[in-house]
Amino acid sequence: MLKLLNTILIGLSTGAIYSLMSISLVLVWRSTRVVNFAQAGQAVFSTYIAYEVSLRTGNFWLALLCAVLSGALLGAFIDFFFMRMLFKHVTSGPIRAIAPVVATLGLLGIIRSAVGYIWGVEVKPLEPPVSTDGIRIGSEVLPFSTYDALILLIVFVVLMILTFIFQRTSLGLSLKASAFSPEISRLSGVRVDLTRTVGWAIAGACGAIAGVLATPTSLLSPNSLDILLVFGFVAAVIGGLESMLGAVVGGILLGLGVTFIANYVGSTLVFLSAFVFLIIVLLVKPAGIISGKRSRNA
């Protein structure tokens, strides 16, 4: 019983991080039709910024804030200096689909190398703000820690902020409209290019939070977040790729799924099980769990 509770709680906090990564991928995909592999690099760069700030000030919250800002800036930078140029020259055809993928893979390599050049390739720790030891209930110690609870809280707050932006603000309406129909948005006076850049910035910020939250329980290296990117993608596809709600549901389901496998079957099967899970979802519901007419506004 305790084991089940544990699995669910750990699954939720793991899934919460996947959800954030997944949101950052969905935001970029639905607004620019770019599968952003560079997100792993963007997130790792932001996490190194957090490491640096944490090392100098010892303040996790300041470190998180700096990571969010650097993630947003880097996202905006990539859109402004790479994606806009790319789409100026290729507007349609198979190249339009392939070029951004190649470009983001290239960017991933560049960012990783740059990060390795600046901070070295040896692993770095990121100090957590609260204990990562399991919570004690009576004589029992749960693997679920105060830090896991904090992850859930932070992700919940981020989701609330995103929901507010997308449902209640002019920026949110511009972001949705530009993603769904750039031409009608332009004709309505929306500055679509600028809005897209803001979308990349928000995606970069989400990826940064995911990276920072995932790191204290493991270690930081130039490619330490690659696995998170893969899980983020799997979650995004499970959720149907088009909706933020889908990204969250996909992330949570994936987190629960892999934690159940890790706790009840064996932790060596975690990576494999994520793909088995993906294949099952694609076989049963090829368009993802949150799909169909209603998905894109969610």
Partner: protein, 236 residues
């Protein structure tokens, strides 16, 4: 202010869609451009709203050069375009579609006042504010598309085939509303239509376009009365 088009030429790849076109749309008038499929009607509007680049020539609305800058800039200069095929965003609600049209104006208060005016014009939309636009009928979507562009408080409204795919009764209703808008406000309308008779009936001025060139131009009533135009474009 008037819309002045001078020697406008637009190429679509190898095809010359608009060929050395010149005419003037006078302020506060409703001008209808009619012509067969492929006459260059949609291309004309897309060029004027900044969606398509022009090959050569000039087009201006007041002081604004319409051949320069992006579509989002033209809206800020008072030029609003309702593109072909019920141009609404299906994933957004009716209200979001309307709000979208006024976002650039920045002022919530002003756009609420405009929204009230638009909903008086199209009461059906008021009953469906919270519904997604893809739940609307074809006629309602067209109303929403026109309503969205009116939210920008345009001086010049470019309408591309509002009658497309709609039942005759609905078409009549939409045409009448367009006429009412011109009568009751200071907006100038350039309407492009395949439904030539319907468009000429509500228009002040008619322009007949054929293969990117003007075949005839004049008061709409004169065009309706002209036997040659009747035979070639009005079908009787």
């Amino acid at each position: 202010m008037s819309l002045i088009i001078r020697n406008l030429t637009v190429d679509h790849g190898a095809i010359r869609a608009i060929n050395n076109l010149s005419f003037i749309v006078e302020k506060r008038r409703l001008t209808a451009v009619i012509g067969a499929n492929g006459a260059g009607k949609s291309t004309l509007l897309r060029t004027l709203s900044g969606l398509n680049p022009a090959t050569s020539g000039k087009a201006s609305w007041g002081d604004h050069n319409l051949l320069k800058g992006k579509a989002e800039k033209h809206v800020r200069n008072g030029v609003s375009h309702v593109s072909e095929g019920k141009s609404v965003i299906p994933e957004l609600t009716v209200e979001e579609n309307l709000d979208l049209g006024a976002l650039w104006r920045g002022s919530r208060k002003e756009s609420e006042a405009t929204k009230k005016y638009v909903l008086e014009l199209f009461p059906r939309l008021g009953e469906r504010l919270k519904q997604r636009a893809d739940t609307l009928s074809g006629g309602e979507r067209q109303m929403l598309a026109i309503g969205r562009s009116l939210m920008a408080k345009p001086d010049l409204l470019l309408l591309d085939e509002p009658s497309l795919g709609l039942a005759p009764l609905v078409v009549e209703q939409i045409f009448q509303t367009i006429r009412d808008v011109v009568n009751s406000s200071s907006v100038t309308v350039l309407l492009v239509e395949q439904n030539a008779m319907g468009a000429l009936k509500i228009a002040d001025i008619g322009v007949v376009l054929n293969l990117g060139k003007i075949a005839a131009i004049g008061p709409a009533a004169d065009l309706i009365a002209d036997p040659a135009i009747r035979a070639a474009y009005l079908g009787f």
